[in-house]
């Protein structure tokens, strides 16, 4: 192993890791928004919204994320959507993970005991008041862990945007392999940095999960 080379390129990998972190954070935030909207649609009283939610989930989960990102980035300009690689990457990844988060959030909401809705409605609270004050606070506690699983997948999924030349960890490894012919070392650095990002995130989620549990 060429440690000398690894030390020399390391700063560039750190910069790339920062891009991966940015991609992950933006994707997590936008993904949560997509997931919340998706779950609201899936749980709507109106068949129309339920159908939209179900279609969203089944299309996204039924096709490779890479194809979704390619359609957005390469196919977009053909229908008048012109995005830089980073934006296309964030949007593509968010819409993708949002479908999985839709199911996570919906699952947490429907697993709150039915008696909770009945008790609140019996007191005269509206459906929305009940959702906001009774159901969602309980569902939120149930969804921290499974959303953590989604976020773990999302971080690894950011590697896909190397394919549209976003200069993140995977792309950076490939670029240095082109000039150094040392794939083992280069992918090792990338892998190690991914692992650190994922480990720290995992600890954060475990902390949050402990913090939200009911006394």
């Amino acid at each position: 192993m060429d440690f000398d080379l690894m030390m020399r390129v390391f700063p560039f990998f750190l910069e790339a890791a920062l891009v991966t972190v940015q991609l992950s954070i933006l994707t997590a935030i936008l993904g949560l928004i997509c997931g919340s909207l998706g779950a609201a649609a899936r749980l709507s009283r109106l068949r129309f919204f339920r159908a939209i939610g179900a279609t969203y989930v089944s299309i996204i989960r039924g096709t490779p994320a890479l194809i979704q990102i390619f359609i957005l980035y390469f196919g977009g300009p053909q229908i008048g959507i012109q995005l830089d690689a980073f934006s296309a990457g964030v949007i593509g990844l968010s819409v993708n993970i949002g479908a999985y988060m839709t199911e996570t959030i919906r699952g947490a909401i429907i697993s709150v005991d039915k008696g909770q809705m009945e008790a609140a409605r019996t007191l005269g609270m509206s459906r929305w008041q009940t959702m906001r004050n009774v159901i969602i606070p309980q569902a939120a506690r149930l969804m921290v862990r499974p959303l953590g699983v989604n976020i773990n997948a999302l971080i690894k999924g950011t590697a896909l945007v190397a394919a549209i030349s976003v200069i993140e960890l995977t792309y950076t490894a490939q670029r240095y392999i082109g000039s150094t012919y040392k794939p083992f070392e280069m992918f090792l650095i990338s892998g190690a940095l991914y692992m650190i990002i994922i480990y720290v995130t995992g600890r954060g989620i475990a902390w949050l999960d402990r913090k939200v549990q009911i006394t």
Partner: protein, 255 residues
């Protein structure tokens, strides 16, 4: 209006799909009356109770409370507004308490009055304390439901319903999920409400309690009210065979 019954259920029928659960039920309850509903499992007792506050809306028939029709046929938004309003007058207590686990006892009781009655924090706190005193749970006001026994949970659930100042209280087997030694503390609270002349409809498997506390007993079987009358009549001199069979099974070891 003044001579109309306080609660009136007229020609009530209810189906879940093809299953007819309530069949032409008529029932009137006067203000301050305490009515027990007994009957075998699956006879429709819960469904009837839940029809009164529109948790399980009737397929046909009418439910009236104090001159207001509960089960009005309205467009969705108006209907929701209407039921949210009338449900404030109908307290309900469930077998499994259904306290809100993420809120303290205080939070459980103040949530709905704060939101629906426009009371200040001070007012709802006083309300919570007053209602908790009534059920003997004041000293647990800052506990979470998970820190209470079943009997205590149910008393808090009763206080939560009472805090809305309902015109009637519905109890669906309020003591069935409790350990035997915890039943009495809940029964005592219900007896106290009876002495305060709260109008109550009580679904119960406890024949002794029904006999002691209730003015009237309804025996239901297969979606019908088979027999009704004063506890003395229904328990001691039932006229219907189905009532006799049921009581034979359920009074064993009780009297």
């Amino acid at each position: 209006m003044s001579d109309a019954p306080f609660i009136e259920i007229r020609n009530a029928a209810k189906s879940f799909g093809a299953l007819e659960v309530l069949k032409d039920i008529n029932l009137t309850v006067e203000k301050g009356q305490i009515v027990a509903i007994i009957g075998p499992s699956g006879s429709g007792k819960s469904t009837l109770l839940r029809a009164i506050n529109e948790l399980d809306p009737l397929t046909s028939g009418e439910v009236w409370l104090d001159g207001v029709q509960i089960n009005k046929d309205l467009p969705f938004r108006q209907y929701e507004k209407h039921v949210n309003q009338v449900r404030q007058d109908i307290g309900m207590v469930f077998q499994h308490f259904n306290l809100f686990p993420h809120l303290t006892v205080r939070g459980n009781i103040t949530l709905a009055p704060k939101m629906l009655k426009g009371l200040s924090d001070k007012e709802v706190n006083e309300l919570a304390e007053e209602q908790l005193k009534r059920v003997g749970m004041l000293e647990r006001i800052d506990y979470y439901p998970s820190q209470l026994s079943g009997g205590q949970k149910q008393r808090v659930a009763i206080a939560r319903a009472l805090a809305m100042k309902p015109k009637v209280m519905l109890f669906d087997e309020a003591t069935s999920a409790l350990d035997p030694e915890l039943v009495e503390e809940v029964n005592l609270v219900m007896k106290q409400l009876a002495e305060e002349h709260m109008t109550m409809i009580i679904v119960t498997h406890e024949m002794g309690f029904a006999q002691d506390v209730c003015d009237r007993v309804l025996f239901m079987d297969q979606g019908y009210v088979v027999e009704e009358g004063s506890p003395d009549v229904v328990f001691r001199n039932p006229t219907q065979d189905r009532t006799k069979d049921f009581l034979k099974k359920h009074l064993q070891g009780q009297n």
